[in-house]
C-alpha cells in the first residue's frame, strides 16, 4: 500500500545487494533478538473497513455537548480558511526548516507568527512555538532561574491545576523552592512582598478562576526585587484586554489553542513564548530571523541556533527539538483572519454573553462568587454535588464546565455561544441541581 516495491523491484534490489530475501538483511543481528513469527497483532484493515472501526470509536464520544468549559482551551469559532490552509501538504508534510532555501514558506509563516505574537502582546521577540501553555510556563521559569541564578519561584495559585502539575514535574523541587500564593477573593494579593532570593513571579491573566486584575503594580514591585515577571495569558482575549507588555511583564507565555487549533482533546495545540530582546540568548526553542541572500533577496533563516540542543548538547537552553509548528501556523493565519476588529468582537461578545449568563444565573438564585471581577469565565456555586451536576447536564446536552471544587463549577463563555443555549443551560441546571 505505502511500500512501492513490486516483485520485480525486489529482484533488482536483491541483485544489487547480492541477497536472496528480506531476511538476509538481518544476518548480522543475533538470532536471539530476531522475532520468529512477527508481531502478535490483528490483520490490516482497508480504508473502508477502518472507517467503520473509527466510526464506532468516535460514536463513544459525547462530542455533541454544547461547550461551557474553558480553563485554557476554548470552544471558539475556527474558520474553514484556517483549517484548510494549515492542512496544505507543503506545511503539513515538511519538517523543521533546516534548509532555508527550500523552506522559505514555513520560515516566513513562522516569522509572521513571531511578529503577530509580539504585536498582540506588546513584546519584542517571540519564539516559533513550544508544546502547550503548561509546558511553556515551566520553560519560562527555567529562563528566569538561568537569568537570575536564584532558587525561589513565586507562583500564583490561580493557574490551571494541570499546569501546576506540569511545573512540579519539570522544575526540580529538590533544588528550587516553588512558593504557591493563594488568591484572595479570586485576585492575587496586591500587598504581596517579594524578596531578592526569588527568581520569578508567575501569574495568570485572567486567573484560572476567571477573575482579572491590573497587574502593573505587582510587576513593578517584583522587578524592584530583581524577579523575572512571567504572565500566562489567554491570548484570545487580547482584543479587549490591556496587554501583558503594557503591564511591564518580562516574559509572556500562552496556551494558543483558541487561536488556530481545534479543541483536539487538549493536543496538539501550541505554546506561545514572547519576551524582550535582552532575554534572547536564554529563549528555549526555535527562532526565525530575517536576512538577505547574496543577491539582496529577502530571506528567512533559523537563528541563534547555538542555544539549541543539537549544537549545545547538555548546555542547551532547553531540550526542545520538535515543536508545534503547524499549530503556530494556525495561530498566524487565524490572527490574520481576525484582524483588529475580529479579535475585538471575539473578546467583546464573549464578555457580554458571560455577563448576561451571570446575571441570569443570579436572577435564578445562583451565587457567582467572583461576579464583579470575572470577564468571560467565572465560578458557579451549585447546590448539589458538582460532578453529579456535570454528569446530569451531559444528559441534557451541555458540557456544564470544569469541576472546580466541592461546590463550584468553572464556566466559560465564548463568542460562539448563543443566547438560546445560555437560557437552556440555566433551565436545565435548575432542573438537575436541586438540593
Amino acid at each position: 500500500m505505502f511500500v512501492p516495491h513490486s516483485e520485480l523491484d525486489l529482484k533488482k534490489m536483491f541483485d544489487e545487494l547480492k541477497i536472496n530475501s528480506l531476511d538476509d538483511l538481518f544476518t548480522h543481528i543475533p538470532d536471539a533478538l530476531l522475532l520468529e513469527n512477527g508481531l502478535d497483532l490483528p490483520e490490516s484493515l482497508s480504508e473502508l473497513e477502518s472507517i467503520d472501526y473509527f466510526d464506532d470509536i468516535a460514536a463513544r464520544n459525547k462530542s455533541e455537548l454544547v461547550c461551557f468549559a474553558g480553563g485554557g482551551h476554548y470552544d471558539v469559532y475556527l474558520p474553514q480558511t484556517v483549517k484548510s490552509l494549515t492542512m496544505r501538504p507543503e506545511f503539513m508534510t515538511s519538517y523543521t526548516p533546516y534548509q532555508a532555501e527550500i523552506s522559505q514558506g514555513i520560515l516566513q509563516v513562522l516569522f509572521e507568527f513571531q511578529s503577530l505574537v509580539c504585536d498582540l502582546t506588546d513584546m519584542e521577540l517571540a519564539n516559533a512555538s513550544l508544546y502547550d501553555g503548561a509546558t511553556s510556563i515551566a520553560e519560562a521559569i527555567s529562563v528566569a532561574i538561568n537569568k537570575t541564578k536564584r532558587d525561589g519561584v513565586v507562583i500564583s495559585s490561580g493557574l490551571n491545576p494541570n499546569s501546576k502539575e506540569v511545573i512540579n514535574t519539570l522544575i526540580d523541587r529538590n533544588k528550587f523552592n516553588l512558593h504557591y500564593v493563594d488568591l484572595e477573593n479570586y485576585l492575587f494579593p496586591t500587598n504581596f512582598e517579594f524578596d531578592d532570593t526569588q527568581a520569578a513571579f508567575v501569574v495568570s491573566y485572567p486567573h484560572y478562576e476567571g477573575s482579572c486584575q491590573d497587574l502593573t503594580m505587582l510587576v513593578e514591585r517584583a522587578k524592584e526585587k530583581g524577579l523575572v515577571t512571567i504572565c500566562y495569558v489567554d491570548p484570545s482575549m487580547l482584543g479587549v484586554l490591556t496587554t501583558p507588555g503594557q503591564m511591564g511583564f518580562d516574559i509572556i507565555v500562552a496556551e494558543g489553542q483558541s487561536l488556530g487549533s481545534p479543541l483536539s482533546f487538549g493536543g496538539p495545540t501550541v505554546g506561545w513564548f514572547a519576551t524582550k530582546k535582552e532575554f534572547a540568548r536564554l529563549v528555549p526553542g526555535r527562532l526565525i530571523g530575517e536576512s538577505r541572500d547574496k543577491d539582496g533577496n529577502k530571506s528567512y533563516v533559523m537563528t541563534l541556533r547555538a542555544r539549541e540542543q543539537d549544537i549545545r548538547r547538555e548546555k542547551a537552553s532547553s531540550n526542545i527539538c520538535t515543536n508545534q509548528t503547524l499549530n503556530a501556523i494556525g495561530s498566524a493565519i487565524h490572527l490574520s483572519w481576525l484582524g483588529p476588529e475580529g479579535i475585538y468582537e471575539m473578546g467583546y461578545h464573549a464578555i457580554q454573553k458571560a455577563n448576561y449568563m451571570r446575571k441570569q444565573l443570579i436572577k435564578n438564585g445562583y451565587v457567582i462568587p467572583n461576579d464583579d471581577t470575572s470577564l468571560r469565565e467565572f465560578l458557579l456555586e451549585v447546590k448539589t454535588d458538582p460532578s453529579e451536576v456535570i454528569s446530569k447536564m451531559g444528559d441534557k446536552g451541555f458540557l456544564a464546565g470544569i469541576l472546580y471544587d466541592e461546590n463550584h463549577i468553572l464556566v466559560a463563555v465564548t463568542e460562539k455561544r448563543k443566547k438560546i443555549e445560555i437560557d437552556n443551560y440555566i433551565e436545565s441546571l435548575i432542573e438537575v441541581d436541586h438540593g
Partner: protein, 501 residues
C-alpha cells in the same frame, strides 16, 4: 530521471520575495465576520479592558488565502519529493489518517471532559497502547509526552524517581554515546543527571571496553538508540544491557531509529527498560513543518507506577484514567498530542500485522540499496551493513576541493531533493546522513544516486563557486550572521537596521 524527487517540483514558485501579511494590510479591510450580538448589550466597566484595538493586519479573505498559499508554494515537502533527512524518518503520511483526525467527534473534544463523555478518546489511547507495547516489547505506555525530547526527559525522570524510591540517590551518572542525538545529553541535564560520554569504536558501535571502564556504582543508566545514529545495529546490545544492569542502572531506548526494526526485533527483548517512540517518525504522522509530534514512553511492568499519568485503562468494559502511584507527574497540560496519537493508530490499523511485520525490512532494504549506490560516489563512514539509514563522509573532497557536506546538501536542493542531514553524527567528519524510508521507490533512490554523482562532478570543476549553490531556488544562501548579530526576529527589525546602518 523519472520519479518522485526529480526536478519537476522546481523551481518552487517565486523569484520575487513574498511580502509579509503586514505589508499586505490596508486599513478597513477584514476577513472575519461574527454573528450579531444576541444578548442585551450592557456597559461593562472593568479595569483590565483597553480602549485601543489590537495591532493586527487588516486583509480580505482572498488576500489572506493567496498569501499563505504562495508561501506554501515556497516550501519543499514529503508530498513534493524525496526527503532523505537522516534521523527524521520522512516517510509518506497517509491522507486517510488526516480525515479521521479531522472528524469533529475527535477534533472538537474539550480536554477537561469527564471520563464518561470521552470513552472514544480513552479507547484510542488504550488501543494504541497495546499496539505500541507489542511493537516495542514493553508492558505499559503513557502518551503524555508531546514530542521525542519530552519522551526522553520522561524516561530520565522515571529513572530518577525509581532510584529515589529505592534509596539509590548516589546514582547520578547517565551514560550517553558520543554519537547520540543532542536531545539526549540536554534531557539528561534537565533531569538533573551528570552526562558521561562513551566512545564509539572504529566499527561505529559502542566501545564495550570503554563502557566497562566508565560504569561504576554511580551509574544511573544508559541512553542508547539501536540502530545507533550511524545507522548500525549495536550487535553487542545484550552484553551492553548486562553491563548496565549488573551495575544497577537502567537502559533507556531512544526511539528515533525504531523504524529500522519494527517487526524484526524489539527493544524490550534487547534488555531495554524504557522506550520512547516518535509517532511522527515511525508511525507516519505528518511532521507539520517542525511539529507537532508525539513521544509516548513505554516501560517494563516494574516501572509502570512511575509513568506520567493519567494513562488509559479498561475495566469492566469501560475505559478510565489511571493515575500511577509513584508517577513523575504530568508532562503535558492534558493528555499529550491526542490527534497525533489518533493518526498513528490509524496507520497501525491500515498496516496491520502484515505491514508492520515487514516495515523495518523495507526501510532497511531501501537504505542498504541506496548506500550501495552512494558508496560508489562518496565513501561511507563505516564498513558495516547499515540499517534504515547510513552516513557518508566528504572529508576527502573537503581536503582536495574544499567541498563541504554543507555544499553537497545545498547542491542537492537544486536537483529537487531535500538535503540529507549534515554534520551529524558529530563524530563523523563532514557527515551526510541519508534515510530514504520504505515508501520511496527504487527509481527515486537511483535518481538520488545519479544526481549525487552529477553534483560531485560539478562541484569539482575549476570554475565552480561553491557559495553559488543552490542556484535555481527563490533565494540563495541567507546571510546567517545578520539575524544572529542584530536579532532581526520581528517585522520592522530589518528595516530599522537598514535605516540605522
Amino acid at each position: 530521471m523519472v520519479s518522485g524527487g526529480n526536478a519537476s517540483s522546481l523551481p518552487l514558485v517565486g523569484g520575487k520575495p513574498e511580502p509579509t501579511i503586514k505589508e499586505l494590510s490596508s486599513p478597513g479591510r477584514r476577513a472575519s465576520k461574527f454573528p450579531k450580538l444576541d444578548v442585551p448589550e450592557v456597559k461593562i466597566n472593568h479595569e483590565s479592558l483597553k480602549k485601543e484595538k489590537a495591532r493586527l493586519p487588516e486583509v480580505s479573505e482572498h488576500d489572506l488565502v493567496m498569501h499563505y498559499s504562495r508561501l506554501a508554494h515556497r516550501n519543499f515537502a514529503v508530498d513534493l519529493g524525496f526527503y532523505p533527512l537522516g534521523s527524521c524518518t520522512m516517510k509518506y503520511n497517509p491522507r486517510f489518517a488526516d480525515s479521521i483526525a479531522s472528524d469533529s467527534r475527535f477534533a472538537n473534544m474539550h480536554p477537561s471532559m469527564p471520563e464518561q463523555f470521552t470513552q472514544g478518546c480513552l479507547k484510542v489511547y488504550y488501543e494504541i497502547g497495546n499496539y505500541l507495547c507489542e511493537i516495542t516489547g514493553m508492558d505499559d505506555a503513557s502518551f503524555q509526552p508531546p514530542a521525542g525530547a519530552s519522551g526522553e526527559l520522561t524516561g530520565l525522570l522515571i529513572i530518577k524517581k525509581y532510584l529515589e524510591v529505592n534509596n539509590l540517590n548516589h546514582k547520578t551518572e547517565i551514560i550517553v554515546p558520543d554519537s547520540a542525538h543532542g536531545t539526549n545529553p540536554a534531557s539528561a541535564r534537565m533531569a538533573g543527571f551528570t552526562v558521561v560520554e562513551v566512545e564509539t569504536d572504529s566499527r561505529g558501535m559502542v566501545n564495550i571496553e570503554k563502557l566497562k571502564e566508565i560504569v561504576n556504582v554511580n551509574t544511573a543508566g544508559l541512553m542508547l538508540t539501536n540502530p545507533n545514529t550511524g545507522g548500525l545495529f549495536e550487535e553487542e546490545i545484550l552484553t551492553i544491557s548486562q553491563i548496565i544492569h549488573n551495575a544497577g542502572g537502567l537502559l533507556y531506548y531512544d526511539g528515533a531509529n525504531l523504524n529500522a526494526i519494527v517487526g524484526a526485533s524489539r527493544p524490550g527483548d534487547m534488555g531495554f527498560d524504557i522506550v520512547h517512540s516518535n509517532l511522527h517518525k515511525t508511525f507516519a504522522t505528518p511532521h507539520g513543518g517542525g511539529g507537532p509530534g508525539s513521544g509516548p514512553v513505554a516501560v517494563k511492568s516494574f516501572l509502570r507506577e512511575f509513568l506520567p499519568g493519567p494513562i488509559a485503562e479498561n475495566k469492566d468494559r469501560k475505559y478510565n484514567w489511571y493515575h500511577p502511584e509513584n508517577s513523575i507527574g504530568r508532562m503535558h497540560g492534558y493528555h499529550g498530542n491526542f490527534l497525533v496519537t489518533l493518526r498513528a493508530l490509524v496507520y497501525m490499523k491500515l498496516l496491520g500485522k502484515e505491514g508492520l511485520d515487514k516495515l523495518g525490512s523495507y526501510a532497511v532494504l531501501n537504505a542498504r540499496y541506496l548506500s550501495s549506490k552512494v558508496s560508489k560516489i562518496i565513501p561511507l563512514a563505516y564498513d558495516e551493513p547499515c540499517m534504515h539509514e547510513f552516513v557518508a563522509s566528504v572529508k576527502d573532497l573537503k581536503k582536495s576541493h574544499k567541498i563541504k557536506a554543507y555544499d553537497v546538501g545545498k547542491a542537492l536542493l537544486d536537483k529537487g531533493f531535500h538535503s540529507p542531514t549534515i554534520y551529524f553524527p558529530l563524530i563523523v567528519e563532514e557527515a551526510l546522513m541519508f534515510e530514504p524510508t520504505e515508501t520511496q521507490s527504487k527509481e527515486t533512490l537511483d535518481d538520488l544516486a545519479e544526481s549525487l554523482k552529477l553534483i560531485v562532478d560539478d562541484l569539482q570543476k575549476e570554475d565552480t563557486v561553491l557559495e553559488d549553490y543552490p542556484k535555481n531556488l527563490p533565494v540563495g544562501r541567507p546571510n546567517e550572521l545578520i539575524p544572529a548579530k542584530y536579532l532581526t526576529v520581528n517585522w520592522g527589525d530589518f528595516e530599522l537596521l537598514e535605516i540605522t546602518e
